[in-house]
Assembly symmetry: C3
């Protein structure tokens, strides 16, 4: 067993990042967040990786920030922690490959934020999600950014004001995760989803993911105008022409950037 | 049977637009989109029409863009297709009368976008909705604009990244459509909804629909300020005064612009 | 029984505002809205109050604006009504303490807006919610601002275009309210929720609520940047340091601003 805080593995176009600090409930210490950032930078430029699965060892997916880093410190200390945190969130969003959170257990505070900030999320039925900072005097404001962009405001406010966990089933209904499955089906479901996505053209996925997050923050008319430009650019790509021709030929497309 | 790509019919204040190209799975060719645009321009100024139902012949509501128009073309060709597409979306939004999509079957890619961009949507329980462009190398970025404004981001991303269809029931839960009904109840449900809306003052509907889509893109405080101005303008309308007086008199209001 | 339009009561950190005009279906007359505004201004500065419950006497939570004030008036009259209305909405949002709507019965038009604009809402299973202005020629545009920020657009449009009520269960699913409970459990559920929130640091609640509503209107990257600054500020607060230390000491935190 490795002692590294984050493990990296890749096969069949799917990279797996594993939070590997079960003793500390996979706390997002600055060191752990920095390691995640380093891996994401590597993955970003990898020709082999098409999709990422983010998982964790132990019964807690992640308990959020390392509270030792938020105690008895000065402004610069805390600013460093949260700066690294928002860089991590930005890196997930800017990653030109989809990232799927695979959750088995509790995801709280910045751990819940990590799930909310993922492109997709699958969890076991027994998993739960909470934003309990309010109970220790630190409102989950950064997690709230991701949560409020994943679920409706009253549900987000309920999580943030009460700190109470919601079940995986509630999380599906609210939009925080995509699927809640029995424990025995978690890996299979998540990696089947990853494999399905890994079948797509990496160029298309990169164009599509970037455009999705850019248009979502625009006024509707501007979003359509921007999206139409992206569609033209995408259609001009060799992979798009190959995909359309393969569709007419009733064959599997051969993407330019094959593994 | 007409060979026209889009059929138009109107009765009792309700206009029906029917996609009539079942052999081509009601593809949204530039010609079809242009015909829809022409009809929407006519309807916009019609004193008779108060609400629009958009439906389709055959088992596919619409399969989206005509892929022949996206193959072996130049930038200007593709730009023409997507420009017409976003003009159609803008025309639905700017139409001063509510538009209801009535779906029986599959709505994919720009066909799903058409449903998402409608004001309301009713579908049969067997209908399904997908954004499968990713499979042929063309990410459904423009459909994503409409879908991401109808459902929560993780559900939108799931549709866009996997291309997998969601059922009518899932579509209701996600917010993509309003109701899923048995096949035998589709027409009755849709036209009852249309008739209910057609009972309202056309002046009020026009003011309300426009204001809804304008305020939804504003910051909350600005949205309230704008909405309050619209409420004042609306209350000053003769139809509003008639409506309020009818309420106190316990009688049915007589709108100024009666059919 | 008091004849005051709005009653005020406070105990254990929880203030209760009661709409007390059941004969007029708790209409939000300018006088009633002004009284609510006055109470909110008082509560805002109260050191005793940590959370607010907004409830109503009688079978109608609130029927919305007083239609007598919207009849046979001039522009300045109507402008006064809606200006007061949006000041009330802004005051709820700006209140540095969470506000929970406790609904037993019908909430329509601006009454529904009041529920939608609350931070949280609990209702009896028999309650219902409607935006029926369209039926009397006055589209519920200001209620639509709050409703469209609580539920997905197609559900909001359905309420606004049809005026039909939705049930408490539908309201939970749509995100308009947090919980639908049996009539006998309404008070207990609401006040337990209020008590849970009242246990939190008032400084933390004030920071968190303000930040939530500010970040939600920002583009995602700007929201994270702003949220990170707020987290640093929050972590520097004595209550946060006390909360974190109490967590490590496994004891209940003692907030600085104890009742």
């Amino acid at each position: 067993m490795s002692d590294d805080l984050v493990l990296y593995q890749a096969a069949d176009g799917i990279a797996t990042l594993t939070l590997n600090n079960r003793k500390r409930r996979n706390a997002l210490s600055t060191e752990t967040m920095s390691m995640l950032l380093d891996f994401l930078r590597t993955i970003k430029d990898s020709r082999e990786v098409r999709v990422v699965v983010l998982r964790a060892e132990g019964p807690v997916f992640s308990s959020g920030h390392d509270l030792k880093e938020l105690r008895d410190g000065c402004e610069a200390d805390y600013a460093g922690v949260f700066q690294t945190c928002i860089e991590l969130m930005a890196a997930i969003r800017a990653l030109p490959k989809p990232l799927i959170a695979m959750v088995d257990g509790l995801a709280t505070a910045a751990g819940c934020q990590l799930v909310a900030a993922s492109d997709l999320a699958v969890a076991t039925e027994g998993s739960s999600f909470a934003a309990p900072g309010v109970k220790i005097g630190v409102f989950c404001t950064t997690p709230g950014v991701a949560i409020a962009r994943s679920v409706m405001p009253k549900k987000a406010m309920e999580m943030l004001l009460t700190g109470l966990p919601i079940s995986a089933e509630e999380a599906v209904q609210a939009g925080l995760i995509n699927r809640a499955v029995p424990k025995g089906a978690l890996e299979e479901t998540t990696y089947a989803l990853a494999a399905l996505i890994a079948d797509a053209s990496p160029v298309t996925l990169a164009i599509g993911k970037e455009a999705f997050y850019r248009q979502i923050d625009m006024e509707c008319g501007a979003a359509y105008k921007y999206a139409a430009e992206i569609m033209v650019k995408n259609t001009l790509e060799p992979d798009a022409q190959e995909g359309i021709n393969a569709f007419f030929d009733k064959r599997k497309p051969q993407w330019g950037d094959q593994r």
